[in-house]
Symmetry: C2
Subunit: 264 residues, 2 copies
């Protein structure tokens, strides 16, 4: 069984060990591998998406277009990731999904997915748990864009990416391949591509991280963790961004409580 196939299983196993029957059924409901070229739109916002995609090889992204011509990337999907669960629940997709590189994916039809979940409640629980985890990442993303400086955002992004890639064996402690150019990074981080460039230069000059021809080198995990104030998704591999070190990059406003009675 190829790595990328087992990636999803490994992930679900983290939640609760799967029986061989569950694994067999999960494999069985999946379509044959689909190979797509980079740029291929798998589904668009508003589409009545009745299927889930599982990435086996390559990178993809979930995003929303804004009418002014820009877009916001919500999440990058890497091998082992499952995209579109929420779209199935909502009957129509609230975001678009495209391949960033040439990729291989499998799909699961919504109906078969539903059936699978009825037959194997533990699989349902596992998928829900995985979806909850993705949502937690999206929230962290929200906080980053809303309340963190550009440099902190970028540092945070690469740390999270490194951790995710490590989980599926696509990164070592200090380096990984990353096919995202600065335009794409900008769209993900809510920055202009040019500013991404400046921030990357800053990180490079501080000796923290280098991005060169599609390869990310992490020179100073600790230092990055401090700038990013990164908290690992996995409790064990905590980077421990010491919360009191260094001058705050930027001080941000704290809200006082509203002083209103409830009269609803």
């Amino acid at each position: 069984m190829p790595l990328s196939q087992s990636a999803l299983i490994t992930k679900l196993n983290t939640y609760a060990p799967l029986t061989s029957e569950e694994i067999a059924s999960l494999t069985e409901v999946q379509s044959k591998p689909i190979v797509v070229r980079r740029g291929k739109e798998l589904f668009h916002e508003g589409q009545h998406g009745q299927m889930v995609f599982i990435v086996q090889r390559g990178w993809a992204s979930s995003y929303k277009d804004v009418p002014d011509g820009g877009r916001q990337i919500i999440n990058f999907a890497i091998p082992g990731d499952c995209v579109g669960l929420r779209s199935v629940l909502l009957k129509e997709s609230d975001h678009a999904f495209s391949a960033l590189t040439d990729s291989t994916l499998r799909t699961i039809d919504a109906v078969r997915m539903t059936q699978l979940f009825e037959d194997f409640p533990r699989l349902r629980a596992g998928f829900l748990w995985s979806a909850a985890r993705d949502e937690a990442m999206a929230l962290e993303h929200l906080v980053g864009i809303g309340r963190r400086s550009a440099i902190s955002r970028v540092a945070h992004f690469f740390l999270e990416l490194a951790e995710r890639l490590t989980l599926v064996g696509l990164a070592t402690e200090t380096q990984f391949h990353c096919p995202l150019n600065q335009y794409v990074l900008g769209d993900a981080l809510g920055l202009s591509a040019i500013h991404v460039n400046r921030v990357l230069r800053g990180l490079r000059e501080r000796g923290l991280l280098t991005v060169k021809s599609g390869v990310v080198l992490i020179h100073d995990l600790q230092g990055l963790g401090e700038i990013a104030n990164y908290h690992s998704l996995n409790p064990r591999s905590q980077v421990s961004g010491s919360s009191q070190t260094g001058p705050p990059t930027q001080s941000l406003p704290t809200a006082r409580l509203p002083n209103t009675r409830s009269d609803n």
Copy 2:
């Protein structure tokens, strides 16, 4: 049955009509109403939150603190809203949750919730659908903060709020009560309170919207919809922000595709 109690049921009914047995059980698993003062923290980030909160009266907020002293509000909970489902799935909460006004809530214990979902799959489906809807809102929020100008964000925020409040009978077409001060708004919208003030002035001067002593008055729904580029959560009550009208407030960068082959 008080309005606020029926709000959740109404919401779930939108997904699929509930039987009286389902309604009875849903009511039965809930705790007695809990009355809290404004500022009360219901749970904090990282807490092993084994319960779900349902707001009956008052306003609350989900948020994450950032170490620099700022925070990002993820969502406001209004009567009928259910908070903490994801926390139950993840075993620990990825955000904090506090009352913004004096409020009344009910809780559902995680264990009883699980049992309820096993007994009534349609209730489970309803809750999941509701959660998916909340997440769709959070994503829209993400896009707003990442890719929209301040004025567009604020306009969008109030339109969405108006729609949500209308659904539970707490707003009319043109006005509603809103206990959020400018500091809180800033924390939600990724802006400083002072800038919120300036943006509100802008909206007022354009004759679009007024906020005065806790009451929001919408003067020009159409105009707001255009600035916000708002798309209704409910397909029927579309505000139809005409996508081609007016000069773009701000033009934003579009990413080109990365030119990298997949070699994962």
